[in-house]
């Protein structure tokens, strides 16, 4: 019972969503749109579960005296957003958006900007001409990088042309092949899910 009902539900919804793809009938469109709304609504309810787990984890760490200060910062950071949203709304210019624009957004961009440094250290460490494939990887990266640097026209028009050729032929074809494969992989995985062979998401038997 605990497994049969979810498996049946999974099958029915899978088949319905598969079939609707081939129809433009208003009923099919309605079913489709409704189910997509369900996704969002279920997500919203589940978010509460996630948040409770987040708060619980932090509280139990505080109780254990583990990084108490930072845990309090995390929880207060979390609480302040809904509080200011309730108080002053979330339109542009509200305290909620002020927090977003001056606290959250700059930190996020900075975490993202850390990547510049990690790219540099990965280039130093990872790009070694250890084998033929590694050398090919290295060379194509070098060509692209050089072609995209623009210092006083040191590099003639040839390099950008070579780079564009690499990007448009070998590189793009390889990506196409990966995409074809991923398409097949997704297809079989999804099919297994629908017919109920793939049931890891229910836990083991």
């Amino acid at each position: 019972m605990n497994r049969k009902v979810p498996l049946a539900v999974c099958f029915i919804f899978g088949v319905v969503m598969f079939i609707q793809y081939f129809s433009q009938h208003p009923t099919a469109r309605f079913v489709y749109k409704s189910i997509l709304d369900y996704w969002q609504i279920i997500f919203a309810f589940t978010l509460i579960l996630g948040i409770i787990s987040f708060v619980n984890n932090n509280i139990s760490q505080i109780k254990r005296g583990n990084n108490t200060f930072y845990r309090i910062v995390a929880i207060s950071g979390f609480l302040i957003m809904p509080v200011v949203a309730l108080g002053w709304g979330i339109k542009t210019g509200s305290p909620f958006m002020w927090m977003f624009e001056n606290v959250q957004a700059p930190m996020q961009s900075t975490v993202f900007a850390l990547l510049a440094f990690f790219v540099a250290s990965a280039s130093y460490r990872g790009f070694r001409a250890r084998s033929i494939p590694a050398t090919i990887l290295l060379l194509s990266a070098l060509i692209i990088l050089l072609s995209r640097s623009n210092i006083g026209g040191i590099f003639s028009d040839y390099l950008p042309n070579i780079a564009d050729w690499i990007r448009n032929y070998p590189s793009m074809s390889a990506r196409r092949a990966i995409l074809i494969g991923i398409g097949l992989g997704s297809l079989t995985t999804s099919l297994r899910v629908i017919i109920g062979i793939e049931r890891t998401w229910l836990g083991k038997d």
Binding site: V9, F45, L49, V103, M107, A177
Partner: protein, 201 residues
């Protein structure tokens, strides 16, 4: 300088300090970021999903169809209690099942079929020059992903060619991405140097 820029600047530096090593400034910024971003998503989801898609149409316009997703959402909360936890599987089944159903034709068409069609070009192009790249690469890479046989003999050789082309793709991507990552940091530096420290204008 306004207070917003000051705070943004200090937090920016706190995050950058992680490059040296984990430290109290980073830990503070990290905790704040996690907390604030969870608070943000909570508010936005409540506003844009629960209110806009569920409560308003259900209670204001009496769209009774919406009782179904309301129930499915509430079933997720079955997890609060051990005995009712299994109920959440039904809602998850809806998501996973319908997701799989959507994916089959969509992925097949956009990932596989379209890409196949576009691989088909004449081996001799309009100006009479031979052009083998597309087909060689695709066959090579597809054979690399052929799992039924060990990569030996002819299959192994083709797969090897496939690997080389994969590496060209990875190299190219890496090259382009270096550009992008540097741009992001340049953007952050522009903020630090002009808005925060006022060193450039």
């Amino acid at each position: 300088m306004d207070i917003g820029t000051l705070i943004a600047g200090v937090l920016t530096l706190a995050i950058l300090s992680f490059l040296y090593r984990d430290n109290p400034f980073y830990k503070f910024a990290e905790s704040l970021l996690i907390g604030v971003s969870i608070g943000y998503i909570l508010v936005i989801t409540f506003n844009n999903t629960l209110m806009a898609l569920l409560f308003e149409p259900l209670f204001k316009e009496s769209d009774l169809w919406l009782i179904i997703p309301l129930l499915l959402g509430l079933l997720m909360w079955g997890r609060f209690h051990k005995k009712t936890a299994f109920l959440s599987r039904i809602s998850i089944a809806v998501m996973i099942g319908s997701g799989a159903g959507v994916a089959i034709p969509a992925m097949l068409k956009e990932r596989t079929l379209k890409q196949m069609s576009n691989t088909v070009v004449s081996l001799v192009n309009a100006s009479g020059m031979p052009d083998f790249t597309g087909i060689i690469v695709i066959l090579g890479v597809i054979s690399y992903f052929y799992f039924s046989r060990e990569q030996k003999g002819a299959l192994g050789k083709i797969a090897k060619v496939g690997t080389y082309f994969l590496m060209i793709f990875f190299g190219t991507t890496f090259g382009y991405t270096v550009m992008s990552r540097m741009s992001t940091f340049i953007g952050r530096m522009e903020f630090l140097l002009s808005d925060f420290l006022k060193l450039i204008h």
